[in-house]
Symmetry: C2
Subunit: 276 residues, 2 copies
Amino acid sequence: MDRIEHRACFGGWQHVYRHHAKSLDCETTFGVYLPPQAEQRSCPVLYWLSGLTCTEQNFITKAGAQRYAAEHGVILVAPDTSPRGAGVADAEGYDLGIGAGFYVDATQAPWSKHYRMFDYVSRELPDLIEAQFPATKARAISGHSMGGHGALVVALKNPGRYRSVSAFSPIVAPTQVPWGQKAFAAYLGEDREAWKAWDATALIASAPERLPLLVDQGEADEFLATQLQPQRLREACEAVGHPLELRMQPGYDHSYYFIASFIGDHIAHHAAALKA
Amino acid sequence: MDRIEHRACFGGWQHVYRHHAKSLDCETTFGVYLPPQAEQRSCPVLYWLSGLTCTEQNFITKAGAQRYAAEHGVILVAPDTSPRGAGVADAEGYDLGIGAGFYVDATQAPWSKHYRMFDYVSRELPDLIEAQFPATKARAISGHSMGGHGALVVALKNPGRYRSVSAFSPIVAPTQVPWGQKAFAAYLGEDREAWKAWDATALIASAPERLPLLVDQGEADEFLATQLQPQRLREACEAVGHPLELRMQPGYDHSYYFIASFIGDHIAHHAAALKA
């Protein structure tokens, strides 16, 4: 594991590491923010999953999350959004292939060789973090857009593994919208029944754990009607009594200005659950 | 004046505008953050001058300053760092020409046609802001690196015009270090006496106004010894009793992680002066 960035930030350290990920069968990078409290004791961890086109850099440079992590004594871990590098399959367009891993384990060639972001973010990366950093096993997960989908699905598919989950502008029903349909057809094949195992609104019905969902969604989000459709999550939660706090935020768009404005609320929410 | 970005942020609005700047004789862009208070009343303004290679985007996306501006009811204005576009002179290297205006009014061809950033940031832009936005004439100024030099020089050369001034990692003595010497030789010519009118440590001696300086400097800054040399500012201030708070910050480098960590202190400092 090579440290490729190391920067003092709000009394702690923003690092970026590169390592060989077994699950992805390639080198990958992740950001890890160690708050000042981590110099004295182990701290709980919030995993952040980014959206289409992002690397670890978007969140660590634009969200302003380190301030709140330092206040609450929470480690922030931000992986990349897909495998990358020579030999990794890619496609035309920003919404399939590199930068667009969708946090699934692909079953279809040529994607299945490297595109195993679910395995990476839910198993290999936490194992690494808990072995190599002053991290407890108290975990929370959040993300934005494709990464909001990822956070919801990773939490729903791993009952007992996360203390809390939240999302910004998530793709709540990837099986029902163009971004998800394009990615799932490629990564998972044409059998739409198999897609449901990776769709938060489909997973809610039979979720063995009713972990409350905190979701922020901008009302001026340019992808609201076509790709995000948060009412589908509301309906799925209401149908089975799954706890959901869906906050529609007037005026806000899909950008990191939106995330920055509310990440403090999310980190406070996660910190309360992580310390409970 | 065309609005090219418009984003809800911390209850206010982060805008980016493009307009024709007379002083620069070209189109230019600037960021303006209007805090929520600006919907009800006019607010004071903090001008931010960025460093080498930057546009208005670096500060508005990476500093996390909007949160504090919203808390204190301060407008943030972030201009570009040089003229740009077809016909604007440029040079090899990141430290001269486009992205490197150094906040001087160039006197030498080919630079003198467009490189008039001092005039732009200290006159034309404030006039525009005060005419077009809900801004009072209470002004503060800050900046980073080349922009820290700019903030100090603009304040020192305009007594009575700013309520407060601060800087992050400023080039305090451009006449004494390679970045400044290269730029001043090009923009101002070979007469080194003329350079002193644009050097904060030289201006301090005869400053007609003893506006206190707040300066943060990272001790792990990769440019500390070669380009920044804050002890020169300390010596210049001590020689004439100019008030200076120079804070050396252990571990911090030259990046926006450093700025983000302390911009809250600076905005609180400016807000107190702007409201006094």
